[in-house]
């Protein structure tokens, strides 16, 4: 017997016929008729006219027929509320049936009949079912409370169902617990303020126990609920994590992803120093990779989530690049997502492999995918500087294929590369120009025009090229028109003599013949600029442009944190907060990651506690120092950030005083002696003549304070570099450098306010770093920084902060806060600021140590273009605390044996071979921690060359 025949009847008097059959005495015929009705319903026919006849069939002991009638009821009750009441009696009766399956069926169906009048009849049976002896009935009733709440929330509260539901969380049956959790979570979402779920360590413990026993779906409900809980401290967070990690081996990907969500969220509370933190990071990678062998749809969900995870914690998957390589027959949506993640994971270490892959993809069939692959090559160039050259040559190869969309995409990304590395790859312009004719997409045309305008002085026929675009000016899209206008003005400013006519033409096209206001406005501005003050025009139009950063495509950190709380859900697939796609109040509760709160016996507190700070302030300060996210939440940077006992160096104290005591008083010509004299403390080693300190002027020129400090010490100080461009920090520009003088390290900062409003409340923090650098005093800016004002500050640093190995080793992540926002940047500090004054090793000791360190730890470097003799080298290095232990002359070569010690006690031994007459010298470094060698070598180079 097949049921498909029910789908086929299309006669006209069908309804009438069905009516007769429904009222037939024969059970079989009745059932057949109901089936026909359901089939009609499915394909969208209106069979509501049969309502009374179908309901009449409800009184039956045939379970199958009963289910069919219920199905019909659920569909049509809403349109026939009065009739639906007829069914109530049967429901109430069924709720008392001895068969638990029928009791459950009745309560399940009743909840689906969304008619207000029925709800009041539902209450009594529901109350009984919630306390039914059979777990199957209870688990169905639990969900029914959520259904009822959806229809009439007030009723549920008045009847006290919520309390009964809460009791079910302690039920002996795991499935009842799971459904109760699901129902409560849903109800709680529509009452964000109510403490409905009331999660506390005891109830969490119950949930964690049920987690081991319930079905895969129940595990998901429980894990999703757990993710909403905020543990009271890091210990509790860790113990929950420990009990959730076994779920990572579940065959159901949703269980795995929900477990990942809980772990990612609670990890936020764990200190990075904990062994467990590292273990957890390691445990997360394999299950995430395994998700990629699931069915393609799930792979897609997993990849969208991995994209978030990689942005939040890149360390988890940094070694797993290969699994994201695209397979030839992956569905397109999987391919595109993999590509995105590949770019995020690209680093210097794997860039060669990535580029080879991307080049391969650029020859595939799917146009979107190919374009994205080409774009990815450009992004790699911008992200990994060392690979830029290779990327450019790959792009050139691709341009040679002459495939139209590949060429266009390549030109767009080459424009970005030019913006990141100006004046570096102009040699390729000629090749680009060859392809001018094939460009038909606005973005590519605009990019090409930008390149021509930007480098007009190096392209002989720039005017001809731009003129060729001008012919069809009005047919171009706005972005091309705007770019063409700017491009020609640039050209004019660079080659005024030959291009006057051209610029006239474009200005009149833009201002007179166009009805696009943006274009007209820009045209007029240029016109007036050019006619009133060409020099100003030059300054405006040809101004130096900020470099583009590689992070343009990153998700904004606060949104990212919110999305981490939604791992596995639609929000994580869309990369949008639920409020963007969910209507009404539901699910729009803003979630955020928990702040780090250390339990009272946190291991890290003793050594990092501020010397004089009241103990109560510790929890505020320490976590903030530990990680950037902590910063966000713990913005109160009031108390001194880190507290090395400030006794090691009087100079440091002086600096603190100077800055803390207020620069104003110093400006008033009052010699606040102590600080000043301390600065003039004699340098430890012989100072080369050129560095003769302007001792007397130390105080007179206040704004030169920092540079004055720099010259006092023997240590080489690099010129200040821009660390945080104003573009990225809402107008605050920070440049700076590091100095070391007489045993203390400081960070010399120059803050410039390029915004239009006054900046106040400055504060600074460092992320943990390889050598424990931390501010030794708060950042003190004496007065509000008004627009266009610059202030120089020397921030004393200590090396007793918490330590975390960074990549590269000398990377320092800094957060600066002002009244406007918090900004983050990272910078590389030269290693020689860490070379301590007592770094001279005894000769015997040197010999013994040199032998003792295994040969594989030896690194050799060549220092080129260093025409100094051994004496000069030795004294120059000594001023930066690299000490010559012994000197030998072997076969005409000078051999210098040198030692230095880092602030953390690592000794580095060096052998420097200098050949008279040869500008290059050889440097061999031996150290027990070979990873510092590279940086020591760089320090040598900077010191010797400056």
């Amino acid at each position: 017997m097949t049921d498909s025949k029910y789908f086929t009847t299309t006669k006209k008097g069908e309804i009438f016929e069905l009516k007769a059959e429904l009222n037939s005495d024969k059970k079989e015929k009745k059932k057949e008729a109901v089936k026909k009705v359901i089939a009609s319903m499915t394909v969208g026919k209106d069979v509501s006219a049969l309502f009374p006849d179908v309901v009449n069939c409800m009184q039956t002991d045939n379970l199958e027929l009963k289910k069919l009638v219920y199905l019909y009821l659920m569909n049509y009750a809403k349109s026939q509320p009065d009739m639906a009441i007829m069914a109530v009696n049967t429901f109430v009766k069924d709720c008392e049936d001895p068969n638990p399956l029928i009791r459950a069926l009745a309560v399940r169906t009743m909840g689906c009949i969304r008619v207000d009048k029925i709800t009041e009849y539902l209450c009594e049976p529901l109350r009984k079912c919630l306390k039914d002896e059979d777990p199957y009935v209870r688990k169905t009733a639990a969900v029914c409370v959520a259904k009822l709440h959806d229809i009439n929330a007030q009723l549920v509260e008045d009847q006290g169902f919520l309390d009964t539901l809460k009791d079910l969380i302690s039920d002996s049956n795991p499935m009842v617990v799971a459904n109760a959790v699901a129902a409560l979570s849903e109800i709680a979402e529509s009452h964000p303020s109510s403490n409905l779920l009331d999660l506390n360590p005891q109830s969490i413990n119950k949930l964690l126990t049920a987690l081991n026993e319930c079905t895969e779906w129940g595990q998901i409900f429980i894990l999703d609920c757990l993710a909403n809980y905020t543990p009271k401290d890091d210990r509790e967070a860790q113990s929950i994590c420990e009990r959730v990690t076994p779920r990572l081996s579940h065959a159901n990907s949703a269980v795995v992803l929900s477990a990942v969500k809980v772990l990612m969220k609670f990890m936020e509370m764990l200190s990075k120093d904990l062994d467990y933190y590292g273990t957890l990071l390691k445990k997360l990678a394999p299950p995430l990779v395994t998700l990629l062998s699931a069915e393609p749809e799930l792979q897609y969900v997993a990849l969208r989530n991995i994209n978030l995870i990689v942005q939040k914690r890149p360390e988890i998957l940094k070694h797993e690049m290969k699994v994201f390589f695209v397979k030839y027959n992956d569905p397109i949506y999987v391919k595109l997502e993999k590509l995105d993640i590949m770019i995020r994971l690209a680093s210097q270490a794997n860039i060669a492999q990535v580029l080879a892959e991307l080049k391969e993809y650029a020859t595939e069939v799917d146009v979107d995918f190919v374009r994205k692959a080409v774009r990815a090559i450009g992004r790699c160039a911008i992200k990994v500087e060392q690979s830029a050259e290779r990327c450019v040559s790959t792009l050139l190869d691709l341009i040679q294929t002459k495939v139209n969309y590949v060429v266009q995409e390549a030109i767009v990304v080459i424009k970005d590369i030019f913006r990141k590395y100006p004046n570096k790859y102009e040699s390729v312009i000629a090749t680009l120009c060859e392809n001018l004719d094939s460009l038909d997409e606005p973005e590519a045309r605009a990019a090409m025009i930008w390149i021509v305008g930007e480098y007009a002085e190096r392209i002989d026929n720039a005017d001809e090229l731009l003129e060729s675009f001008l012919e069809g000016f009005h047919d171009e899209s706005t972005q091309v028109q705007l770019q063409l206008l700017t491009g020609i003005v640039k050209l004019f400013l660079k080659k005024p003599t030959e291009t006057q006519e051209l610029v006239q033409q474009v200005l009149s096209l833009a201002t007179q013949d166009s009805d696009n206001p943006d274009l007209r406005d820009r045209g007029y501005i240029y016109w007036r600029l050019l006619s009133t003050d060409p020099v100003a025009a030059k300054e405006v139009v040809l101004a130096e442009k900020p470099l583009i950063s590689e992070e343009t495509d990153l998700i904004e950190p606060t949104l990212l944190d919110e999305l981490i709380c939604y791992i596995g859900t639609l929000a994580s697939v869309y990369h949008k907060p639920p409020s963007a796609f969910v209507e009404g109040g539901r699910g729009v509760v803003h979630k955020s990651l928990p702040p780090r709160t250390a339990s009272s016996e946190s291991a890290e507190s003793p050594e990092t506690a501020p010397a004089g700070a009241p103990p109560g302030e510790q929890p505020d300060v320490i976590p903030a120092q530990g990680d950037l996210l902590g910063d966000l939440l713990n913005l109160d940077l009031g108390p001194p950030v880190s507290g090395p006992p400030l006794t090691t160096s009087s100079v440091q104290m002086g600096a603190v005083d100077l800055l803390g005591g207020g620069l104003d008083s110093l400006m008033g010509d009052e010699p606040e002696g102590i600080g000043g004299t301390n600065f003039v403390a004699p340098p430890t080693a012989a100072v080369p003549a050129s560095l003769g300190a302007p001792i007397g002027s130390g105080l007179s020129d206040l704004f030169d304070l920092t540079s004055g400090v720099g010259t006092l010490s023997g240590s080489y100080v690099a010129p200040k570099a821009v660390w945080l461009p104003a573009m990225k920090a809402k107008g605050l520009e920070i440049s700076g450098t590091f100095t070391r003088q007489v045993g203390s390290i400081s960070m010399d900062l120059q803050l410039t306010n390029k915004a239009l409003q006054v900046m106040t409340d400055f504060a600074i923090q460092f992320n943990r770093n390889s050598f424990g650098l931390a501010p030794a005093a708060p950042l003190q800016v004496h007065a509000p920084l008004s627009p266009n004002q610059t202030v120089e500050i020397s921030l004393p640093l200590s090396t007793v902060g918490s330590v975390m190995k960074m990549e590269p080793l000398n990377n320092l992540q800094v957060a600066v806060k002002n009244n406007i926002d918090v900004f983050y940047f990272s910078t590389l500090y030269p290693l020689h600021i860490l070379f301590v004054e007592d770094g001279k090793m005894d000769r015997q000791m040197f010999l013994a140590t040199w032998k003792d360190i295994p040969n594989e730890n030896e690194a050799q470097f060549q220092i080129r273009d260093c025409p100094l003799n051994a004496e000069a080298v030795s004294s120059k290095l000594q001023s930066s605390n690299i000490f010559t232990v012994a000197k030998r002359n072997v076969e005409g070569q000078d051999m210098l044996y040198q030692s230095l010690k880092l602030t953390n006690g690592i000794w580095v031994l060096a052998e420097l071979r200098i050949q008279p007459g040869n500008p290059s010298c050889m440097l061999s470094l031996k150290c027990r921690a070979p990873e510092v060698s590279q940086h020591v070598y760089q320090a040598y180079e900077t010191i010797l060359k400056n």
Partner: protein, 459 residues
């Protein structure tokens, strides 16, 4: 949660429609009016839900472009879909649901349907629509997935349907306790005269190799499938040559492991059927469980280290002028000479403008298949440590198509009687304390099959 579930045929006609929540048909979907609603949807009834149904048909099933995402958001309504042959299953929601769970549920739904009536086809769905509604009512309540183990479902949802009258009270409570219980996948009181179990280690070995023979990526994804015919509620323990376990034991009895000479393997990651006690695996790395009756997938695993690549493909493609390609491909088998690989197939893609192909191969049969744009070379059997070769001349039509031929990779299919990951089953112990059979009485069979997954060599 899931607001509704629809099943469509390839034309976009609705075969099954089950709505769990009212919100999926609210005003927003209404406003996204789709003028081209199907011919049989003229009626006004349930109009709002109909709109959601139509939205999916118009925007996904009838979309001109290839599907760009398995999740589609139309007028603030999200549609999740999977496709089985030419049947579309779509779950609809307006909330921020757990997306991974929805897809897992859709797959599970397919498994359940397949377990009840075989292949998922339009015919079968129409024939079993009453059953499908009954299942949907049971496994999804208000959009929350409930117990969906076929073993349990089959005890009370049957195709005969009229069981309720004949059930005794004990039977009923046994059903409900099984559906909601801790061991929802197995019922009590199963009896076999002969206790027997079969273990299949099924591996698929994946490779991507550069033309120069460098392994770009390789991994094995394996499954251990168990078929058990055991009485009672047997407690099972499964052991394999997992490096971590072997090393842990090795500390005590170092010589035993070296004597047996068994190589252990490093498993990158594994996942288990829900019957396996995960917390025990996490703490002791032992795999213990009470199996469902019949066939199920005990575990999945992935390895990337020390993979035995059964075949090596060495391609050589030479372009002779603009109208000719010379292709030579050598395959080498790399396993014990006593073993035989089967069903070997090498697929060499050819350009779209191929006009003719001449092929010579040392072994097996090779044919140019114009419809598939490939030369397909088939070898029935090949022993280990052997080598074979094919050479082909491909004539091309001159084209002025500027686009270069993408040179898709050469792919390979095969089956070998060993596990390329090196996985070995060490034991599977069965304990059933209540019944009088012991581990020795159980007849156990183990079989290893290694198949090619995506086994590609770029040329």
């Amino acid at each position: 949660m899931i607001g509704g579930l629809f099943i469509y045929n390839h034309k976009g006609e609705v075969l099954i429609s089950r709505v769990y929540r009212d919100d999926i048909g609210s005003q927003a979907a209404d406003s996204a009016v789709f003028s081209s609603s199907g011919p049989f949807l003229g009626e006004r009834l349930g109009g709002s839900v109909r709109n959601a149904v139509d939205a999916f048909r118009v925007n996904v099933i009838h979309a001109r472009q290839q599907v760009r995402s398995p999740v589609t958001n139309i007028a603030r309504t999200s549609f999740f879909h999977v496709k089985r042959s030419n049947i579309w299953l779509a779950a609809v929601t307006k909330q921020n649901v757990n997306a991974a769970m929805v897809f897992e549920f859709l797959y599970k739904m397919c498994d359940v349907m397949a377990a009840y009536f075989g292949k998922i086809s339009e015919e079968n769905i129409k024939n079993n629509f009453v059953l499908i509604y009954e299942l949907l009512d049971e496994i999804l309540d208000f959009g929350y997935p409930q117990n969906s183990e076929t073993g349990a479902l089959k005890t009370f949802i049957t195709q005969q349907g009229i069981k309720s009258q004949h059930q005794t009270k004990e039977e009923q409570s046994q059903i409900t306790s099984q559906v909601t219980g801790q061991i929802g996948w197995r019922r009590e009181g199963i009896k076999y005269r002969r206790n027997e179990l079969f273990l299949d280690v099924l591996e698929s070995v994946n490779l991507l190799m550069s033309p120069q023979g460098q392994v770009l990526s390789a991994h094995v994804s394996g499954r251990v499938v168990m078929k058990s015919y055991l009485s009672g509620m047997p407690e099972c323990k499964f052991g394999m040559n997992d490096k971590i376990v072997i090393e842990k034991q090795g500390k005590g009895t170092a010589d035993e492991t070296s004597k047996s000479g068994k190589q252990s393997i490093a498993i990158d990651d594994c996942t288990f059927h829900q019957c396996v006690r995960l917390s025990k695996f996490d703490s002791e790395r032992s795999i213990s469980f009470i199996p469902p009756d019949g066939e199920f997938e005990l575990m999945r695993y992935r390895t990337t280290k020390d993979i035995i690549l059964p075949f090596r493909v060495i391609p050589l493609v030479r372009e002779v002028g603009r109208t000719k390609l010379e292709v030579k491909v050598v395959i080498k088998s790399n396993f014990k000479p006593s073993l035989l690989a089967q069903k070997i197939e090498v697929r060499i893609p050819t350009p779209l403008n191929t006009s003719g192909v001449q092929v010579i191969c040392m072994k097996g049969k090779a044919k140019y298949k114009a419809s598939e744009n490939a030369i397909v070379w088939k070898i029935k059997r090949m022993a280990g440590m052997k080598e074979s070769q094919i050479s082909a001349e491909i004539e091309l039509l001159p084209t002025n198509d500027k686009k270069k031929w993408a040179r898709p990779p050469i792919s390979m299919n095969f089956e070998v009687p060993f596990a390329p990951s090196g996985l070995k089953v060490r034991y599977l112990k069965v304990f059933e304390p209540k019944l009088n059979y012991s581990d020795h009485d159980v007849i156990k069979w183990v079989r290893y099959i290694g198949r090619s997954g995506i086994y590609e060599t770029r040329c």
